[in-house]
Amino acid sequence: MKILVCISSVPDTTSKINFTADDTRFDTTGVQFVINPNDEFGLTRAMWFKEKQGAVVHVATVGDQSVEPTMRKALAIGADEGIRVDATPTEGLFVARQLAEVVKNGEYDLVIAGRESIDYNGGMVPGMMAAMLNMNFVNTCISLEVEGNQATAFREIDGGKEKIEASLPLIIGGQKGLVEESDLRIPNMRGIMMARKKILNVIPAVEAKQTSKEIKFERPAPKGEVKLIDAENLDELIELLHNEAKVI
């Protein structure tokens, strides 16, 4: 089985988010970039397929040179080879077009992407890829098994889960649950050394239709002071929730 894991490089979850003075761009000063958590779950699951079922695992990203450390980390975790489409992602459809091209040329059986990137929260790339490639697709995937040409997956739905069967080739949008939290791997010294020697192919972007444009960013409004209520005076809380906040 040949697997491609799509990796987006995102600000670490503890990052403070700032924008440039004219609010047109995200200010990356001082921000630490990591593998998107949803992709990290997927990469970990791919490692399981590699170790238990002999799968070959490639990782792909669309990004400029600044995302290479994130890709080296993915290689250090155990991916065999990396591909970087050398372009600054402008929108979901652009990224999906690039990755679809990589999938087509690499003839992958399984494409593991994430439910969403925690930076722009698009939640669209894997579905778009599935449409472009006419491949089966399972989103919000919380469990995945593959036997031969057949995959069994669970996906999270509102209020529960759904068991799905599909044949390969398949794309999934993974998330927490796909592997246990304790199975996530921190690259060790050996992995890091080996990653330096692994192939990270840099390829040019293909033409894609432009469908949107970011105009500006805005910070959330500052939060007012919390109203503290005495633990002995719960009637006051109920009164406030009823008459002031009007939520009960």
Binding site: P11, T13, T14, I17, F19, F26, N38, L93, A96, I118, N121, G122, G123, M124, V125, G127, M128, A130, A131, N136, F137, N139, T140, I142, R155, E156, D158, G159, G160, K161, E162, K163, I164, E165, A166, Q175, K176, G177, E181, K209, T211, S212, K213, E214, I215, F217, E218, P220, K223, V226, K227, L228, A231, L234, L240, L241, H242, A245, V247, I248
Partner: protein
């Protein structure tokens, strides 16, 4: 020209988000001189959508489409979008809608903005305000394709009654086996109970509750309020609660009217994912817990004493205000 909406139902009953996306679409339609057309699958009383500005419902009753299938539903919407010459398609942020709309956007090469948090900023060109960085910021996106999709954040726009005359037409989509792809084998879903995605109130517990045996506290409070239950990440990692209840940046987003956080410290990843909730209440023994800076109302106190009392008092309140 029409503005298209994908209206979701559960066991034949429209979900609240069906009326929310219809309301959203109506605003765009009014501003562009268009009409709202809805696509509904196996819905009872489809004409109800007329109360929210929908002029025409294309009603699909096809046994193969009884269970949601993202690829097939996307194929139906793509077909309708072409037939109706729709320039804008509005969908909700439910798990199913997000699943379907990504495929639809790829198939139509549409512009697509997810997590819209307000009505359209502008309709020509079409500009929407959406969340980014899990509510740590907002961005304004201009959609420039000839077909554009807007995903409305749960509970962000609300339902607005706007009664118009509404025709319901049966619609039979042209589908082949190819349009299905994946097969649903089994669905394990709690029905009739509020879910984190669509509940007005969410009651959430953290590590401060000490263990799964104490979750009765959370459930009792949730029951009185008709609320969904949720938890912080470590609580689901420890197996005290199912993964599906984990909320925050790497879990489910919460955008309820009221969010009650009990024994949750308020780490940045947790707050990011729940901050779209309109009113937040925190109950925590530690007055220095970061959640107090993000909450509207706070009680410094022991959950094991405060929560049962609050539940009792709310029961009395509900009995009086029923």
């Amino acid at each position: 020209m029409s503005v298209l909406v994908y209206t979701e139902s559960e066991k034949g009953k429209f979900k609240k988000n069906a009326f929310e996306v219809a309301s959203y679409a109506k605003e765009i339609a009014d501003k562009t001189g268009a009409e709202v057309t809805a696509v509904a699958f196996h819905a009872e009383e489809a004409e109800m959508l007329g109360n929210y500005g929908v002029s025409k419902v294309l009603h699909i009753q096809d046994d193969a489409l009884k269970t949601f299938n993202a690829k097939a539903y996307a194929a139906v919407l793509a077909e309708v979008a072409k037939n109706e010459n729709a320039s804008v398609i509005v969908v909700s942020s439910s798990t199913d809608a997000k699943y379907m709309a990504g495929i639809l956007a790829g198939a139509l090469e549409a512009g697509y903005a997810t997590n819209a948090v307000a009505g359209p900023e502008n309709v020509s060109p079409l500009v929407v305000k959406r969340t980014a960085f899990t509510n740590k910021g907002y961005m304004f996106t201009e959609l420039q394709a000839d077909k554009n999709i807007i995903g409305v954040s749960n509970n962000a726009y609300g339902t607005h009654e706007n009664s118009v005359s509404c025709s319901v037409e049966a619609f039979s989509p042209k589908l082949s086996d190819e349009d299905f792809g994946t097969k649903s084998v089994e669905i394990d879903q709690v029905v009739g109970k509020a879910t984190i995605a669509d509940a007005d109130v969410v009651v959430s517990g953290g590590r401060g509750l000490k263990g799964p045996e104490n979750w009765g506290l959370i459930e009792d409070l949730a029951d009185v309020l008709g609320a969904a239950t949720a938890c912080s990440k470590p609580v689901s990692d420890l197996g005290w609660r199912p993964h599906g209840e984990h909320v925050g940046q790497t879990g489910k987003p919460v955008a309820s009217n009221l969010y009650i956080a009990i024994g949750i410290s308020g780490a940045i990843q947790h707050l990011a994912g729940v901050s779209a909730s309109k009113v937040k209440v925190v109950i925590n023994t530690d007055p220095e817990a970061p959640f107090f800076k993000a909450a509207d109302y706070g009680i410094v106190g022991d959950a094991f004493e405060v929560v049962p009392k609050l539940t009792e008092k709310l029961k009395e309140f509900k009995a009086q205000n029923a």
